[in-house]
């Protein structure tokens, strides 16, 4: 069984533009829907508040691993038990983590972005399906926010 999720997406934007959208904490927050406290620094913890309806009280946390300009950006993302208020504490020292890696490649049309998330064996079985990521209602709401965001920008 595959223990990772891998995604490929072709973006009609130069590698430099995509790199900025991924690694500038403000830009990252715009599309990832998180209000981050400060810039990403390798070896340091990044924190912020989730901007996701119903989950705004949750602290987002990741340990930034690698930032190889226009090539690789990776972090270890703290996974929490979203349905359990007792676990909303921002002490994530013992939180299970998944490894998220963004790889960029220049193409004729722009940039090929490959995203890999791995380490799901670290997430307790009981959390799955109950986590935000399993919440379809939440994502439906999220899609409405995006439509709104895009309409405002247009």
């Amino acid at each position: 069984m595959e223990n990772a999720v891998e995604k490929h997406i072709e973006l009609k934007a130069p590698v430099g533009r995509v790199w900025r959208a991924l690694t500038d904490h403000g830009e990252f927050g715009e599309w990832f829907r998180v209000a981050l406290d400060g810039p990403f620094v390798p070896g340091q913890v990044s924190r912020g508040r989730i901007l996701y309806p119903g989950f705004e009280h949750i602290v987002w946390e990741a340990m930034i691993e690698k930032m190889e300009p226009e090539r690789l950006f990776s972090f270890r993302w703290a996974q929490i038990r979203y349905h359990d208020k007792a676990c909303y504490s921002p002490d994530y020292s013992n939180a299970p983590r998944t490894l998220v890696e963004f790889r960029l490649q220049q193409t004729a049309a722009g940039t090929l972005l490959t995203v890999t998330e791995s380490g799901f064996e670290n997430v307790p079985a009981e959390w799955r399906g109950e986590a935000m990521r399993g919440n379809d209602g939440g994502w439906a709401q999220q899609m409405l926010n995006i439509e709104k965001y895009v309409a405002e920008k247009a």
Binding site: F120, E121, P124, G129, Q142
Partner: protein, 115 residues
Amino acid sequence: MWRKKPKRFVEGRPAPAVLFAALGDKTRLALVARLSAGQSSSIAQLTEGSRLTRQAVTKHLRVLERAGIVRSTRHGRENLFALDPEPMRKMGDYLSSVSRQWDEALARLKLFVEE
């Protein structure tokens, strides 16, 4: 620093790492495939037509059993093994929701960088 030794059980159920480890072996995957037809099979039936010894099949079945992927029941003098699809189904559901979440996040990223 984040990597801890995987636990065998989490809250009384086999830990996900155990499930992945159990499925990360071609022989065991082949056994799971044979059992996925839904019928309970004996060790003799599962050994038949494979290049494995009875001992090897037994050993692999025990690994799958500890991971909660197969269950055995005693029938007369032999054990019958059957697949428990629940742990794999749950993991599959979880990974597809993770996958969907990335599809949506990347769609937002696409709009963001292409505008």
